[in-house]
């Protein structure tokens, strides 16, 4: 079926007529919106969508924003929306899709991602968390790390090793893990900023029913690619005005505080201003290509560019501030739900930006990807490719 924008507007009007946001509880409204197929219109009917083109979501969002209807706070549940949901949709059974997607979308159930481990970062497929079959269950033991929102999460997407006797990519299986199950222990992971955005998650004999497996046994690596592809799509994607990023903060300080200016800082500020503007234009060009349905390889470069730029701009900002650069807002271990570069001081920006070249693919791995997939240079030697996981040196 094809849905026109006018039909979508009609459905929104019907939703608003039956569930006036002013008179309906927030959660009831969101559930009704999901059931009306207006949650994510490109999802199938019955799962919050209408099987409509993804591009039409904007029509619904605009109509609902116009009447100030409550939304599902997408920044708070980004991992569920951006990573878990597409994977459940693609690989889940009908039962799993029906059980998980509605409360995921409404935000009633927060999701987190149990992928990285202390011994498996860039080499994620080397992970060692074990899942052993026991009747209708799997028993999972291991340690995961860099888990945003684990302390708020009801569910996790988890990859674990189910067969150590085959090469690393082949012995992995993908599960949905109940974060309230016995044996799941979440500890805050404090970062160099003082706060704890992330967690360590210790799994000790955690029982996961086989009914919560996503995809086939041993096919977890392929399933995880869906999750990771959606993560990369989400990074570096929004349009910015000139001076819209960190450079705007430094430029404002420069204009407001002439006493801080030196010739050296001026030169470096201008160089970074140029680079920030060019990087902004590069993102704009990428979006123009995507709008034509012709994504270029430029996408893989954007994260690399932003990481380096943010680090150098925030470094300059601390230096520019001089005496104020010696002071830090607050080292108290807080637990922010979203990362906000601008709500805090320059020292925070400087320290948090260090993560930009590590999280979501290190800059070194990204350079490998660009040189191999874009430039066609030879791959790094993969000495572990055909070796059973249990025999790998570690």
């Amino acid at each position: 079926m094809t849905v026109t924008p006018e039909e979508l507007r009609e459905r929104v009007r019907a939703l608003l007529a039956s569930h006036d946001p002013a008179a309906t509880g927030r959660l009831d409204f969101l559930r009704a919106r999901f059931d009306a197929g207006l949650a994510w219109v490109h999802y199938p009917q019955g799962l919050g969508g209408l099987g409509a083109p993804r591009a039409l979501q904007g029509v619904v969002d605009a109509e609902l924003a116009a009447v100030a209807a409550p939304d599902n706070e997408p920044r708070r549940i980004g991992i569920g929306l951006g990573m878990a949901a597409p994977t459940v949709l693609r690989y889940g059974t009908e039962e799993q899709k029906t059980r998980f997607l509605r409360p995921l979308w409404t935000g009633e159930e927060v999701w987190c991602q149990l992928f990285s481990e202390p011994g498996a970062g860039s080499d994620l497929a080397g992970l060692r968390t074990r899942a052993v079959r026991d009747g209708d269950d799997w028993i999972v033991t291991g340690q995961k790390v860099w888990t945003s929102n684990a302390h708020n999460a009801r569910w996790a997407i988890l990859i674990a090793r189910t067969d150590p006797d085959v090469p690393k990519h082949q012995g992995i299986t993908y599960f949905v893990c109940d974060m309230t199950a016995p044996g799941v222990e979440v500890r805050p992971l404090r970062q160099i900023t003082g706060e704890a955005e992330f967690n360590e998650v210790f799994l000790t004999d955690v029982r996961i029913p086989d009914a919560h497996r996503l995809g086939e046994v041993g096919d977890g690596w392929r399933v995880a690619q869906t999750t990771l592809m959606n993560e990369r799509v989400a990074i570096g994607g929004t349009a910015l005005p000139r001076e819209g990023g960190m450079i705007g903060t430094v430029a404002a300080t420069w204009r407001e505080r002439p006493e801080l200016r030196t010739p050296d800082l001026h030169d470096r500020l201008l160089r970074l201003w140029v680079e920030a503007e060019v990087t902004r234009l590069t993102g704009e060009r990428l979006r123009q290509q995507l709008a034509l349905g012709a994504p270029g390889p430029e996408g893989s470069g954007m994260k690399l560019a932003f990481a380096s730029l943010n680090q150098r701009i925030s470094g300059l900002e601390v230096e520019l501030l001089g005496e104020d650069g010696l002071r830090y807002g607050d080292w108290t271990m807080t637990r922010p739900e979203i990362v906000d570069f601008y709500g805090r001081d320059a020292g925070y920006r400087y320290l948090r930006a260090k993560g930009n070249s590590i999280e979501g693919g290190t800059s070194e791995i990204l350079r490998n990807i660009i040189s191999e997939r874009v430039l066609g240079l030879p791959s790094e030697p993969r000495t572990d490719k055909d070796v059973p996981w249990k025999d790998l040196p570690r």
């Binding site: 201008l270 040189s371 430039l375």
Partner: protein, 373 residues
């Protein structure tokens, strides 16, 4: 309205036509051989480009005999000319001189531009190649009430390929633009040995040369400024084309070259250098397209877009050419290999129409980031 940073179908077709011609007629060995010849410019190639492909009149309205295209199309041509370091006077004649004449807006200037657009004649704008937008270029040359020129201008690009010079000079009533043939009495070109072998420069002395005034104080200064801005903005596309070619050639070479029993391009240190260079070129493309588009739309933001493009693209071209030499190893250091032609062009382009530092200084004023003190 925001900038269109992509290439249109028309632009892609134009690129294909220029590239096809250059691939046939502008092989590295030919360009190299010409460098030590008495005729550094390829006049036959320029005639084909100018008359058959129509590149000489891209910026010129159809009513004046041109193609009625825009800076966007001229930028695509410059990408290809930069890629081949083609020895033709496109920048000097079809960009700098043509833009100055168009902006002068007089009947005399329109008449002069028509000949350029049709490829009958080639012109050069008599300003030093390093002149950045905003440079004072009228002070060094004088003209009397009859248009007789005196004085000297150095490092004029594409002058030796030109039939006529468009000369900014100070006349009795202020700045003016004058037209004079390069072979007119009282015009003396001396040709220094250029760093950039594929875009020669000339010092020009005027001693009682009888010229024709084609624009007076009302438009002359603005016309030259418009030419310098346009030249600087479009030079970014030449730098982009050159940088992309350096990367492509280097990647191709590193896929073939073996040392230590493996393809040299498999060494991670080299892969990462090339990934970084690729990213800079991706960024340079956005900057160069933005400048060309701003010029084509006559956007109020054009001065910023141009300063950004020059400040960014000039060093990228130099770095690409330097990496090309280094990563080719010994062969990259030889006269026989064309890598040096691109290195010399890239380094000269870094000085041309304002160094990156001058463009950053211009930007400081444009975006209100004042210097210290």
């Amino acid at each position: 309205m925001s900038a269109d940073l992509l290439y249109s179908d028309v632009e892609n077709d134009l690129r294909a036509a220029v590239r096809g011609l250059l691939a046939d007629r502008c092989a590295p060995a030919d360009v190299l051989a010409r460098c030590e010849d008495d005729e550094p410019y390829d006049a036959a190639l320029w005639r084909t480009l100018a008359r058959e492909v129509g590149v000489a009149g891209l910026l010129v309205p159809e009513k004046l005999g041109g193609q009625g295209a825009s800076a966007r199309e001229a930028a695509v041509v410059l990408e290809e000319l930069g890629s081949f370091v083609a020895p033709v006077p496109f920048l000097g004649s079809a960009v700098l001189a043509t833009t100055a004449l168009l902006a002068a807006g007089t009947t005399e200037a329109d008449a002069a531009v028509a000949g350029l657009a049709e490829g009958e004649r080639t012109a050069a704008l008599a300003v030093p190649l390093p002149s950045a937008p905003g440079a004072e270029v009228f002070a060094g040359l004088r003209a009397d009430a009859d248009g007789v020129l005196g004085g000297r201008v150095t490092s004029v690009a594409d002058a030796t390929a030109a039939d006529v010079l468009i000369v900014p000079a100070t006349g009795p009533d202020g700045p003016g633009l004058y037209e004079v043939r390069t072979d007119a009495p009282g015009v003396a070109l001396s040709v220094p040995v250029p760093l950039d072998l594929t875009r020669p420069i000339a010092d020009v002395a005027f001693d009682g040369a009888a010229a024709r005034r084609i624009a007076g104080p009302a438009t002359a200064a603005a016309a030259v400024e418009r030419a310098l801005l346009t030249g600087a903005g479009l030079l970014a596309s030449e730098q982009l084309g050159l940088a992309q070619r350096c990367l492509d050639e280097t990647v191709a070479y590193l896929k073939e070259r073996h040392q230590f029993g493996r393809v040299v391009g498999s060494f991670q240190s080299l892969k990462h250098r090339l990934a970084d260079l690729w990213l800079e070129i991706v960024q340079a493309r956005a900057a160069a397209r933005n400048a060309a588009d701003a010029l084509a739309r006559d956007s109020a933001d054009a001065p910023v877009a141009i300063a950004v493009a020059q400040a960014f693209c000039a060093p990228v071209a130099v770095r690409a050419a330097e990496e090309c030499v280094q990563l080719h190893g010994g062969i990259g250091m030889t006269w026989e290999h064309p890598a040096h032609l691109r290195l010399k062009r890239a380094k000269a382009d870094e000085i041309a129409l304002g160094t990156p530092g001058r463009h950053r200084a211009a930007l400081a004023a444009l975006v209100e980031l004042p210097a210290a003190g």
